[in-house]
Each structure stands twice: as structure tokens, then as C-alpha cells.
Assembly symmetry: C2
Homo-oligomer: 178 residues x 2
């Protein structure tokens, strides 16, 4: 269940999407050390969020049709963040800005409660992700993500799923067969 669903529905009904944007494969929506406080709805296509360290890229999140994607840390703090967001194929997005989103959240007690529930779901998702990263067994990590996001494997090129799972593409192939 997408925790943003009540806001997507209201943004549709009240025509709050301010812009649309089309990205080609490999285009960047955001690069490191920049601020991006928009919320994006993925009309079609597929994106990944990643971070860079001195040694390599780490894919940390995906967005595909029907998802919301955002540089969540930058959205919440209003400050620059280290996240990169890149289209993995041609991708169409609808955009709502943070001020418009905040106005929507503050529009009713009901919406404040929805936002509270959205944030609670995001905290729980982040805690699951933290456990993912700590689990030593590649098979365990694969099974947890399969259970949580079964569609992922249809939507996203496997080399990025391997990065998300902290294993090589070869290990992912082996784990899938086992």
C-alpha cells in the first residue's frame, strides 16, 4: 500500500499537480549536494535513488508507475542532500511543490492524520531497510525484499536490484535460482 495514496487522490481531484516532466533514460532528476523539495508522482517509467561514496554507488530506493518519489531528506529539511535520482528508462512525472503539498496537509484534521500515517509508514519502511542492510545472508536479504516488493523484479533492471541488495549481479542470479 502506497502511504501517499490519499494525497495523490486529492491532488488529482483538486488539480494540484503543477507541472509534468519527461526524462529520458539515464537523465538525472537530482544530483548530489542539491536541494529538491518537490514531490513526484511516477505516471510511467522507472527511476532509482542512489548515493555515492568514495568507492561506489549505492542504490537505495526505486520508483515506478503509481509511486511517489522524492529526495525525502531534502523535502523534509529544505536543505541540500547527497541523493541522486536517475531515470532508468523514459519516465513521465507529475510534480507538486512543497508549499502546495504543505497547504494540502494543513487543509483538514483528516489530512493531518493522513500525513501522520504516511510519516509513520515511512519510519517503519526505513527501519525495515536498516535491517535489510545489516543482515549478513544474501538469501535472507533477497527474500525480505521479494516479500515486501514483489513487483520490483518486473520493473527494475536486475543490476540495480543487486546494488540495492548489496550483492553482485552474479550473486543475485545465483540467489534467485536457489
Amino acid at each position: 500500500m502506497n502511504p501517499f495514496q490519499p494525497f495523490i487522490k486529492q491532488a488529482d481531484e483538486q488539480h494540484l499537480w503543477e507541472k509534468t516532466l519527461t526524462l529520458n533514460r539515464n537523465d538525472f532528476l537530482k544530483i548530489g549536494e542539491t536541494t529538491d523539495t518537490n514531490v513526484y508522482y511516477v505516471v510511467g517509467g522507472c527511476l532509482r535513488i542512489f548515493v555515492l561514496d568514495e568507492v561506489e554507488e549505492h542504490t537505495i530506493r526505486f520508483g515506478y508507475q503509481g509511486n511517489i518519489i522524492a529526495a525525502l531528506d531534502s523535502f523534509l529539511t529544505g536543505k541540500p542532500s547527497d541523493l541522486y535520482i536517475q531515470a532508468l528508462r523514459k519516465t513521465e512525472l507529475k510534480i507538486i511543490s512543497k508549499p502546495t503539498f504543505n497547504t494540502l496537509v494543513a487543509a483538514s484534521i483528516e489530512n493531518r492524520v493522513y500525513w501522520q500515517q504516511t510519516l509513520e509508514a515511512l519510519v517503519v519502511q526505513q527501519m525495515e531497510r536498516e535491517l535489510d542492510l545489516l543482515i549478513s545472508s544474501p538469501i535472507e536479504r533477497y527474500l525480505r525484499v521479494m516479500k515486501r516488493s514483489p513487483h520490483l523484479f518486473q520493473e527494475v533492471p536486475h543490476k540495480y536490484i543487486a546494488s540495492y541488495l548489496r550483492m553482485t549481479p552474479e550473486t543475485l542470479s545465483r540467489v534467485k535460482k536457489s
Copy 2:
């Protein structure tokens, strides 16, 4: 800044703490596969939260004087969670139950906004922790945590900080000297 501060203050003023609890060194407040929806205020002492996988323990959070500590996933979902919470020395806690906490949150629009801000801070903290876990360099991981939680090194035995930083105690000693 403790994101729970407004609620600690109000719980004090309105006498909402329902119980106190004293733990001895190494006592468990929670073990794996149990539900615990309480919120705990640390009056004194020190605790850690950890998870177990097949291979080892992973320390994921600490609480010491003036902090709130909770099995956050279990608190938010009302379901069992894999977290263990253990006292690292004699520890005194004040307890507020989830129903009482929820009543406090719902008591005013102002409190709903505080809770929204608390959850937003928790999401940002979780994202920082996710990046901590992905960074390859032990020195980088150490510096990020030192910057974020300088008091940690006074409060918590270093072998648990090493676990939190995903390095051996020997590596932590070396990194601190460098």
C-alpha cells in the same frame, strides 16, 4: 535536539508517566518477536537496541539520560518486532503507554504538528543511519556519528559503539587515534 521534547515536557506537567522501572546491568527491556508499544524516558543509565541475525548482534540505537527510547517499529505498528532492548548499566525509566501518548498527540492541533515534526525528524535520522551503513570507509562512518552524537562516546561502552559503526573494537580504537 530531542524531537520528543514537547511531549516529555507535557507528560511531566500533566503527570502522564504511568510507571517507573529500574533495570540492572544487562537486563532486557524487550526481546525479539515481542510487542512493546510503550514509550520510555531515560531518567538515568544507558540502554542499547540491537537485532540478531544468524551470525551476530547488530547494535542499532542507544538511549541515555534525557532520551526517549522505544521499539519504534512495534510502537508504530502495534505488532511484534525483532528488536532487543538491553540496559548497559543500572537504568531508571519512566513509562507512558501508547494509548496515553496517542491521547496527548490528539489533544490539540499544536500537538499534532509537534508529532508530525517528531516523525519528520525520525525519518531524517533513519535516512542518515541508512547512509552510515552504506559508507565503506570506517573513518567516514566514525566522523559522521561523532558529529551527530558527540556525547555517545562518553555515555556508551566502546564495544557497543564499534558494533553500531560496523567495525571491530580494535578498528574503532585505531580510527579514534588517527
